[in-house]
């Protein structure tokens, strides 16, 4: 193996330690808060450090080794069911040259880990895994430098095997190298990363560390926490977004068995009971006792897209290159529509909070424990250091669902009953009615072909609310908006390219000589909205990739060849060619009622690449669209866990196909009417395809490219393109419900 520490790093490590060779780190709470001033980030002229090391540069913020040889890896990112824990352990194990099972991983905890913001945007591999990989490589180099001195051997002659360094006929364990001392070293810009050809842990299908507990009834979720003295809370929400509480006689509920307390503040109503079923029963009694004045505050659903198109907008020109040569060639235009949609976690959101001696602890499945701490502290009128937020896994969230809101609910109830841990879980109707939705969107595309059948000009506009109303402020928490002294939500923001929010992936990766892209940002929000997996990319890639097919048809070209003709990025071309080849695109035999569809995107134009091909069957009598098979080709940069990538892409395809074929929040002008799985149906087993294949393009030595959301955008376009291929009917309004397909076929 490549074992030698780079000269500069070793010397710097020695100097940093004041001459005595030290590597160990105490396990005292030691996050960014504990670091000395000046260690928070590089000076502006300093070279950029890899991944999240740039913001949190001390090596012991990421990796600690104690005298017993126990290795602890810390990440500010959270397990959401995407398998990040396993992947982070793999990169650390690879660079430290230890078996993965030797590593203990601590994730997102405001008292222990780095602040890595939100676990969102497919950033965890790029930010956290990159930081941990580089930190691990630098720690290994430092350990080898010390070992060389202790063993009296040249660094380049040392060998490492599972945390044991050998040289000069002797060997020392990592724990012996670091015993009793403290390393606190700032990361260097460059790391002695192991050669990908020598990898034994990275690139392997290591089984997920969290799955055994999940299939055997172990404690796996915040829902499973049972702390000593824990009691149960439930919240009674208003029946509609604009409802005001006019009266509440809580006397009967307060006398119910097990009830400890009823909390009322404005239109926030909570109840705490000894046992969970008692809390639920009491909350139902409270709901019956509450008197509400309801108002019509919602738009007319039938006019939703008119409302979106006519809302006050801030127009942001993202691309304006060349001019639109009107009238010179065939011009096509189209408009696409996307409704409000849900995260729809299977397990309603849950949190446990406890107030002890003026200090709050909140166990939460929030995607961002640090921003949540800030918001909860403001909500409670406390300093941030009085609140600790610890991530514990919950049911999959797929973006900003009610995880933060329920944490606030639990904190408010904990304040009312000091000492006791209070566990609050939302009910199904709460989740369907009150989670922040994925916002409705409208897009309009227009393009002109030149004489060679290539796109000469491309214009694209998208109308959208923000896709980020995450906390940071108390007013971003649902309870904060319902208290008598209500907090104001943060002003909605349009976001910035290249990540973007409503404009995410609105700029095509294709090359067109003339191009204009405009983002009409709509600050006004009739319903609460925020980040739903992939944000605007779901709609923008649906629109762009549907429209590329429409343009291919106008040009009389094959959709795959037409894409390649406009695409210079070789990695994009590689996944497109691979997906087409594995699907058998050119040899496809069309059967009656069946068709093939293709779509491609590079998520955010900077993360993972994905090309999809599928076959669908369309039932003319019912309008049902059935996905028959899907072939995916992905480029995620260097691969840490191939099965993790396959799992994310398979899941993304199925989830996005569910959004695409059936999902739409419904409402009248007063109330949300899609209040459970009956009113908001999602994919069930009989509807899943016969087969999904995921092929991965290996890219050893390349940066990690986030993959968790890559499938969300291409999936709806792939399906709509296949429906058009099967039937000739082009559907531009999501979802492609049976009714809508049947109507399109009748037309």
């Amino acid at each position: 193996m490549r074992s030698a520490a780079p000269e500069g790093l070793t010397r710097r490590a020695v100097l940093a330690a004041g001459g005595s060779l030290v590597v160990a780190f105490s396990l005292r709470p030691h996050g960014v808060d504990a670091q000395e001033p000046g260690a928070q980030g590089p000076k502006s002229d300093a070279p950029k450090l890899p991944g999240s090391l740039d913001k949190t540069p001390m090596l012991d913020s990421w990796i600690r080794i104690d005298a017993d040889g126990k290795i602890t890896v810390l990440s500010g990112k959270a397990e959401l069911g995407q398998g990040i824990k396993t992947a982070l352990i793999q990169v650390a194990a690879e660079e430290l040259v230890v078996r993965p099972e030797r590593i203990t991983l601590i994730t997102a905890d405001t008292q222990r880990t780095a602040d890595e913001g939100y676990t969102a945007g497919s950033h965890s591999m790029q930010d956290s895994a990159t930081a941990i990989r580089n930190a691990a490589a630098q720690v290994r180099a430092i350990l080898l430098g010390i070992a060389a001195q202790k063993l009296g051997a040249a660094p380049e002659t040392l060998k490492v095997d599972d945390g044991v360094v050998s040289g000069g006929g002797k060997s020392l364990r990592y724990g012996e190298l670091v015993s009793g001392q403290d390393l606190h070293v700032k990361a260097a810009p460059n790391s002695p990363l192991r050669d990908p050809a020598s990898h034994t842990v990275m690139g392997q299908d290591l089984q997920r560390i969290d799955i055994p507990a999940k299939v055997t009834g172990g404690v796996a979720y915040v829902q499973d926490l049972r702390l000593p003295g824990m009691v149960h809370g439930r919240i009674v929400r208003p029946p509609s977004p604009g409802a005001a509480l006019t009266a509440l006689d809580s006397a009967a509920a307060e006398k119910m068995p097990g009830v400890l307390k009823v909390v009322r503040d404005g239109r926030f109503i909570g109840v705490i009971a000894q046992r969970e079923w008692q809390a639920i029963t009491a909350s139902k009694a409270l709901a019956r006792a509450a008197r509400w004045q309801e108002r019509e505050t919602l738009p007319v659903q039938a006019d939703l897209y008119k409302t979106v198109r006519s809302a006050p907008a801030k127009d942001i020109v993202l691309v304006d290159r060349g001019s639109a040569p009107e009238g010179q060639g065939k011009t096509v235009s189209a408009e696409y529509l996307r409704p409000y949609q849900l995260h729809a976690s299977i397990g309603p959101s849950c949190a446990v909070a406890q107030l002890v001696d003026g200090n709050y602890t909140v166990w939460t499945h929030s995607q961002g424990v640090f921003p949540l701490r800030k918001a909860v502290a403001e909500l409670l009128g406390q300093a941030q250091d009085k609140v600790r937020c610890i991530h514990v896994e919950g049911s999959g969230c797929y973006g900003h669902n009610a995880a933060d809101d329920v944490a606030a609910d639990a904190a408010l109830l904990a304040r009312a009953l000091p000492g006791h841990p209070v566990r609050v879980q939302w009910m199904r109707e709460d989740e369907h009615m009150w989670e922040p939705y994925g916002p409705p969107m409208v897009s309009a595309a227009r393009a002109t072909l030149d004489a060679n059948g290539s796109i000469a000009s491309w214009q694209y506009e998208v109308w959208s609310n923000t896709h980020n109303a995450r906390p940071g402020k108390a007013g971003d928490l649902l309870a904060g908006q319902h208290l008598a002294q209500a907090f104001q939500p943060s002003p909605p923001q349009p976001g910035n390219q290249p990540d973007g929010l409503g404009d995410r992936n609105s700029i095509p990766l294709y090359t067109f000589p003339n191009e204009k892209v405009v983002y009409h940002f709509l600050p006004e929000m009739p319903l609460r909205v925020s980040a739903l997996r992939s944000l605007g990319a779901y709609m923008n890639v649906f629109s762009l990739e549907s429209f590329m097919d429409e343009m291919a048809r106008a040009a009389g070209a094959d959709p795959v060849a037409f894409r390649l003709k406009h695409l210079a990025d070789n990695r994009a071309r590689d996944v497109i060619n691979l997906a087409a080849e594995q699907f058998g695109w050119s040899s496809f035999q069309r059967r009656a009622g069946r068709g093939r569809g293709f779509a491609f995107a590079r998520y955010k134009n900077q993360a993972g690449y994905l090309a999809l091909a599928c076959e669908v069957e369309v039932r003319r009598d019912t309008g049902e669209v059935k996905l028959v098979r899907v072939v995916a080709a992905a480029d995620s940069g260097e691969v840490v866990n191939p099965d993790g990538i396959r799992n994310q892409i398979e899941g993304g395809i199925l989830q996005s196909s569910s959004w695409t074929l059936s999902e739409e929040v419904t409402f009248d002008q007063t109330r949300i009417t899609s209040r459970d799985w009956g009113g908001y149906p999602i994919l069930r087993f009989p509807q899943v395809p016969e087969r999904i294949e995921v092929h991965i393009v290996p890219r050893p030595g390349q940066p990690f490219l986030g993959t968790g959301e890559v499938a969300q955008g291409p999936t709806p376009a792939m399906i709509a393109n296949a429906v058009a291929d099967a039937t000739g009917a082009r559907l531009r309004q999501l979802p492609l419900s049976r009714e809508r397909v049947r109507k399109a076929l009748e037309a």
């Binding site: 995407q82 299939v215 009834g217 729809a344 999959g396 199904r428």
Partner: protein
């Protein structure tokens, strides 16, 4: 006091007979497997077996369970000694967030105990009550198939072995 026949053992429970089985399992008996998903019998996250049949424990009051045996995912094996179905789910890595998985397994277990040789269509149809939001369906189907196949090959090798996953 109510006596529950749970995973082959008698358990005494001090709960109101109208309490749904789910809360008795989770709160009185401190089992994690059955999950609260909807409380409406729509999603299957709370699925357990009662008397050999998959039931939705969130809408099944303790009073209707009676003396029938109750089986939860904890009764299939443990992390150290996983049962056939648990091993199959691990082998297929058939989970993402995994919140629905214990319910999936208990519904699959009920199928395999009645029909150890199900067709793929049988499995899809039988599993249709249970919802998964992560989109792990393909893997869940493969895991159930793998468990069925391994029960089949075990019974071929040991014809007298007891059936069950």
């Amino acid at each position: 006091m109510i006596v529950l026949n749970l995973n082959g053992r008698q358990q005494v429970v001090d709960a109101d007979a109208s309490t749904p089985l789910l809360y008795v399992l989770r709160d009185d008996l401190q089992l994690n497997g059955a999950k609260f998903g909807c409380g409406l019998g729509q999603c299957g996250a709370c699925t357990v077996m009662v008397g050999g049949t998959a039931v939705l424990s969130c809408i099944t009051p303790l009073s209707v369970v009676g003396t029938r045996p109750v089986k939860t995912v904890e009764g299939l094996g443990s992390a150290d000694k996983p049962g056939v179905l648990q091993s199959a789910f691990i082998a297929e890595q058939a989970a993402q967030c995994g919140y629905c998985i214990a319910g999936m397994m208990m519904r699959a277990q009920a199928l395999l105990e009645k029909n150890p040789n199900p067709s793929d269509a049988d499995i899809r149809q039988h599993m249709s009550i249970n919802l998964c939001r992560c989109g792990t369906h393909m893997r869940i189907l493969r895991a159930v198939r793998r468990a069925a196949d391994s029960i089949k090959s075990a019974s071929t090798e040991h014809p007298n072995a007891q059936r069950g996953a």
